[in-house]
């Protein structure tokens, strides 16, 4: 995790996930959703790489990610996801945008 904050001592410190920690968290999510522990995620991993990654599993992944990172995806954001790299970027961007 990367700690960021302003100069103001009063400002609440926000802990943002870095890319490695997002991948680590996603690995746990995928392992739980697909009930497998042999999935290796990379930025290019997409539905064609993992057996059984259909729309139902996609929902489970997104729900789990929303819960884990405390974020909400909009419909447009969900529709724009093509691979794990997109998801990681989106999580990072949304986390950065949080107060």
């Amino acid at each position: 995790m990367v700690a960021v904050g302003g100069d103001c001592a009063q400002e609440k410190e926000v802990v943002l996930p870095d890319e490695a920690s997002i991948y680590a968290s996603l690995a746990e999510t995928f392992s739980a959703v697909f009930e497998r522990d042999d999935i290796t995620l990379s930025a290019r991993t997409s539905a064609r790489d993992i057996d059984g990654w259909d729309s139902l599993k996609q929902i489970m992944i997104l729900v789990s990610v929303e819960e884990t990172f405390g974020i909400k995806f909009s419909t447009r954001e969900m529709d724009s996801l093509g691979c794990v790299g997109d998801l990681v970027s989106l999580i990072a961007a949304k986390a950065t945008g949080k107060p």
Partner: protein
């Protein structure tokens, strides 16, 4: 890179798994081809007759980027981490394929700076395969590329193959001079689906664009109107009376094309100018791709042989097709056969009448044959993401799946499980209530359905009477765990549906297998309008006044589409997708005009030059001598060439 002993068989991996990147040379679209297909009674009754039906969806062609692979030059197999890439085994001899594996003693590392494009296969020396598989692979691998970035993996080529490369302007592209009996270790390689036969029995518009490119490199010259293409050594058996047949055709003024008689440019030009091409099934008919829309291919074959590959090429080029089969004698794949000259005489009369009617232009014939005309064609996977089901059942969700689209949607697979005649009102009530409470744990239940172990869990939601398959079996998950999961999922999909309705970016689809009055559907439209700038596509079955694929605009935001039939409620997977896709494309074109400027299509355009074929047949003019030099004529860009603009728009580069 792993190695193995000579006796070990390599494991296999699919190219999708092996590739570091997958791109598209072409994505599937609808194909409103206007070429007609007419089969003899014998052919149309044959169990394999489906091979000759018009194909209405084009083939997707992917290009794969591969990192750190090994190419075996004897089999042209590619290996990734020691595993054979399954899709590269096209026409590799079975014995060699089985024995092939990575051998460290044969490995030759290649320069890692550039990409090596494998652009030929084991049958590259056969004219049809070179023309329809290798040349498009070469052309599309090089489009938009700098020559220094890529090397073509090619063996020593025949003179005619080199000639085709020169016509495309690729004769100077650097090549890897392939050595036999070695294996190359390649850090960056490319392989496209043209090479593995995937496109051979489909329709490939990108390939067609390559043929147009070849034609553009050759000045048009006067040619022959009716051409008979001899097949010197058919693999399925010789025509016993071919001399008699050829004599008859010569007497009718038909040009007889002998194998090897013409140079490549003259051959391409001959087909470009031909109005009718006749011949037994064989390699030489592949040049039908150079014919103008509205020309005719008459192919015949013995009754022990069925192969629709030239029919498909003709259909792609919008060339009409006639098919005949004749009796063969003997057993096995190689049999002698005889062409019925009475049938030939009848066919020639038919050709005379056809062109006498249509003369001087083939436009009339094409207009009669035309199906629904689209002003725009969208890749089907992208097209189907523009739509979202509002329920009834999962038919539309399955059609999206057929097209490779997997959108998330509450009603995609979930239906309102109530009598059909009240489902619309229940949907309305649910929308008016914002689907409040959907996803509450106490409203969701799961139950096992089926008889044989393991049975499947089916989920039900009792506020809005939703029911859907979970695709989870009793041996995979506990009921209570699944119930919690489904509750979360329903809540998620509710949120998404409400947001989509507010955004108004989807085209909502609603259908019912029973008749529903206009006023009742109007209430749904009103509810959608209340929520946002939504559009409704109301789908019904075709009737006398509305053939399958028709779309009516009932209002700016309300369309009515007509499909061939719906899947029965008891068998939702029994779908008939084609007219659904036509309806979706037409609706999309009507309600998304902002994007319509991408492609300007004029499907009704006719060939610029008149067809004069039957002058030869009706007057029995003596044939020109085979060695007669064609005389140059002024170049006149044909209207069909101008349509290349929209073809190019359909191509997807990487």
């Amino acid at each position: 890179m792993s190695s193995s002993s000579a006796t070990e068989t390599a494991s296999e991996v699919s190219i999708l798994k092996a590739a570091s990147e997958t791109g598209y040379f072409e994505k599937s679209t609808l194909f409103p081809g206007r070429g007609t297909i007419e089969l003899s009674d014998t052919m149309s009754r044959h169990p394999a007759a489906d091979m000759f039906r018009p194909i209405r969806i084009t083939t997707c062609v992917r290009n794969f980027q591969l990192r750190d692979v090994v190419l075996d030059t004897d089999t042209l197999l590619l290996f990734k981490d020691g595993a054979k890439i399954t899709e590269t085994s096209y026409f590799a001899p079975e014995y060699a394929e089985k024995a092939a594996h990575v051998r460290t003693d044969r490995l030759v590392p290649l320069d890692g700076d550039c990409s090596y494009a494998l652009v030929h296969n084991k049958v590259h020396g056969v004219y049809q395969h070179w023309l329809t598989q290798c040349l498009p692979a070469i052309d599309w691998s090089l489009r938009g590329r700098k020559a220094r970035d890529v090397r073509l993996i090619l063996p020593r080529l025949n003179a005619w193959q080199e000639e085709t490369l020169a016509l495309l302007g690729y004769d100077e592209i650097p090549r890897l001079p392939m050595q036999p009996n070695v294996q190359y270790r390649i850090s960056k390689a490319e392989f496209s689906e043209y090479l593995n036969g995937r496109t051979s029995f489909g329709l490939c518009l990108s390939g067609l664009d390559t043929y147009r490119k070849l034609l553009r490199s050759i000045p048009p010259r006067k040619g022959e109107s009716v051409v008979y293409v001899r097949n010197a050594s058919p693999y399925y058996g010789p025509i016993l009376n071919e001399d008699e047949l050829v004599s008859l055709l010569r007497r009718r003024g038909i040009y007889i094309l002998e194998v090897g008689a013409l140079s490549i440019p003259d051959r391409f030009n001959l087909f470009r100018q031909a109005d009718v091409v006749i011949g037994p099934h064989g390699d030489g008919l592949a040049d039908i791709v150079f014919c103008r829309p509205g020309a005719l291919l008459w192919e015949f074959m013995p009754n022990h042989m069925h192969n629709g590959s030239y029919n498909n090429l003709a259909h792609a080029a919008e060339v009409h097709y006639w098919g005949d089969q004749f009796e063969a004698v003997g057993e096995g794949a190689f049999r002698e056969w005889t062409v019925d000259l009475n049938v030939v005489a009848e066919r020639l009369q038919g050709i005379s009448r056809r062109f006498a009617d249509d003369h001087p232009r083939a436009a009339a014939a094409m207009a009669v044959a035309s199906g629904p005309a689209y002003t725009r064609l969208t890749p089907l996977d992208e097209l189907m993401l523009e739509f979202e089901s509002l329920g009834d059942n999962c038919e539309f969700g399955l059609i999206q799946r057929v097209c490779g689209a997997e959108p998330l949607g509450l009603f995609r697979f979930a239906g309102i499980h109530l009598p059909v005649d009240i489902r619309l009102e229940k949907l309305l009530a649910a929308l008016e209530a914002d689907l409040a409470g959907l996803g509450s744990m106490d409203t969701v239940s799961v139950k096992l359905e089926g008889v044989d172990y393991p049975r499947e869990f089916v989920a039900t939601e009792n506020t809005y009477n939703l029911m859907y398959h979970t695709f989870m079996a009793e041996d995979e998950i506990q009921a209570e765990v699944l119930r919690k999961r489904e509750a979360i999922r329903l809540g998620f999909l509710r949120r998404k549906l409400l947001e989509d309705l507010t955004n108004g970016e989807k085209i909502w689809v609603w259908k019912s297998n029973v008749d529903v009055a206009f006023d009742r559907v109007a209430r749904l439209v009103a509810e959608l309008r209340r929520r946002g700038p939504n559009i409704l596509l109301w789908v019904v079955t075709a009737d006398v006044g509305h053939p399958p694929g028709t779309v009516e605009r009932l209002a700016d935001d309300w369309f009515k589409g007509y499909v061939e039939r719906f899947a029965p409620y008891g068998a939702a997977t029994d779908i008939s997708p084609h007219s659904w896709l036509e309806v979706c494309q037409a609706t999309y074109n009507l309600c998304r005009p902002a994007a319509a400027d991408e492609v300007a299509v004029t499907l009704a355009e006719a060939p610029a030059e008149p067809l004069t074929a039957m002058d030869y047949l009706t007057r029995a003019t003596p044939a020109a001598a085979p060695d007669q030099q064609p005389t140059p004529q002024p170049s006149s860009p044909s209207a069909w060439l101008r349509r290349l603009g929209w073809l190019r728009k359909l191509m997807w580069w990487r």
